[in-house]
Symmetry: C2
Subunit: 280 residues, 2 copies
């Protein structure tokens, strides 16, 4: 069962935080939900937001400015954590891009990670089932978005479950992790050396192997240092979409960086986009 540990009124709705004992991650997990004012009277659709490296459930709810638009459109926002947590959970304290805060939304099959790092099942199955049972959410009416590592997460969750998500968008996503340093390092740790296993968690590879969604919306800042470093590789995703008939709207935004200030600038358009798809 989930337990509410905080509730803050915002834009007429409530930003709540919960803990629960996760079956798939084998530890206590924390997450936040913004319930718009409409949810006081009726069930509402949900937009899941997956955050990037180093984040918890708190970053986006504090910095992205999403609640304003969610209240306007009557959409709940779901903010999962980015990894399992707790003293018993494996970590690599020397690195921000492996272990806690860096779950990469995969199901690990390698020790010491596999016991707790089951973030793909957590985000796509356990968490939706839990909150649809306990909160005023329309069952199964959900979309997904995210930033950077969470943009990767949003893309793979939607591509692997096209029937489960009405729409998908991303900010500055890691589009082809099997070809970038962040992805290679983490996938080898969490998934081992067999790269065919990696491809099941790579948006570009999924499209190359036939996965498809209605449309993909991505905003990418041109002044983003991680884009320059070759961590994000949107060109590879675009090429895979072109080769495989996947509709995609990649908007290269001049002058914008990788920060939440970039997300804040365009999140209103993303939430309007998802609202259209979430109409019942």
């Amino acid at each position: 069962m989930m337990k509410q540990i905080e509730s803050i009124k915002e834009f007429g709705g409530y930003l709540n935080r919960y803990t629960h004992d996760s079956d798939c991650c084998h530890c206590e997990m924390i997450f936040s939900v913004y319930l718009p004012p409409q949810a006081l009277k009726t069930k509402v659709p949900a937009l899941y937001w997956l955050s990037g490296l180093t984040c918890t459930d708190d970053n986006a709810r504090t910095k992205a400015g999403m609640q304003r638009y969610a209240a306007q459109h009557g959409i709940a926002l779901i903010f999962p954590d980015t990894s399992p947590r707790g003293v018993n959970v494996a970590d690599n304290s020397d690195r921000y891009d492996l272990g806690k805060g860096a779950g990469f939304y995969v199901n690990s099959i390698i020790n010491p990670w596999q016991k707790h790092y089951q973030m793909y099942d957590y985000v796509t199955k356990e968490l939706p089932a839990l909150i649809e049972l306990n909160l005023p959410l329309l069952p199964g009416i959900k979309s997904i978005s995210g930033h950077s590592m969470g943009g990767h997460g949003a893309l793979i969750c939607a591509l692997k479950n096209p029937q489960s998500y009405r729409s998908v968008s991303a900010f500055s996503p890691i589009c082809n992790p099997t070809e970038s340093d962040w992805g290679k390092d983490c996938f080898s740790a969490y998934l081992g050396d067999d790269q065919t296993t990696w491809q099941a968690y790579d948006a570009t590879c999924l499209i190359e192997s036939g996965s498809k969604v209605n449309e993909i919306l991505i905003d990418q800042g041109i002044a983003d240092e991680f884009y320059d470093d070759g961590q994000l590789l949107p060109e590879n995703l675009i090429e895979a979409c072109k080769q495989n008939g996947q509709k995609i709207n990649l908007r290269m935004q001049e002058g914008y960086d990788h920060s939440y200030h970039f997300i804040a600038s365009f999140i209103g358009e993303h939430i309007a986009y998802h609202t259209e798809a979430l109409k019942i």
Copy 2:
């Protein structure tokens, strides 16, 4: 001279951070400015935002969601720090409510504080002169707002300089610091034992002694723990306004707390309010 140390594109404008050697605080000061897209072509009015205890220039620019509205209305946002900083600046590391992060927007006259803690002169004189010289701001066309300790700061800056600010508003301000624990502790440290000196930095006392502005707008959450603790005392301010013919719009907001989520919920209305007053 001021030096730009960061620039982040947001909502088509730029969130910049600067340092400069402050004459009145005798140390290097840091501040942030959001220049809306309109400022690329023409000079714009400015809204000063004074933050609360423990904050730097970064909190509001990250959490309040102000930039969206500033871009919409063509208003620059000025985010000063809340105190002097640096290794040579007096501090009380045991307390969050005295010393660094807690300048209270007064000019200290007591050692060891007086050398650096000249935040009133800094915010009302030195900073406006500096940025009006160096940034695309309309000279003298400015308003002021703030939160908690910064709400107190906004009120006293406007009440002591009614010709200098077009409008004033505040969130959860410390309305009567000479009567609340935060205020008594800090005023005795910064200003000494003579309470007549304190009154010159207390919004309620200033109104009682005849200071006047066109109007005061305040939002106060009813679920605010510091309101419950008697730190904010809006009732005292209301009574002084009633006795002295000062127009005030105090909106008691049901269910809201003291956090930036409260500010975010109503900052759009405050910026629209200031925009009206800032029309040239």
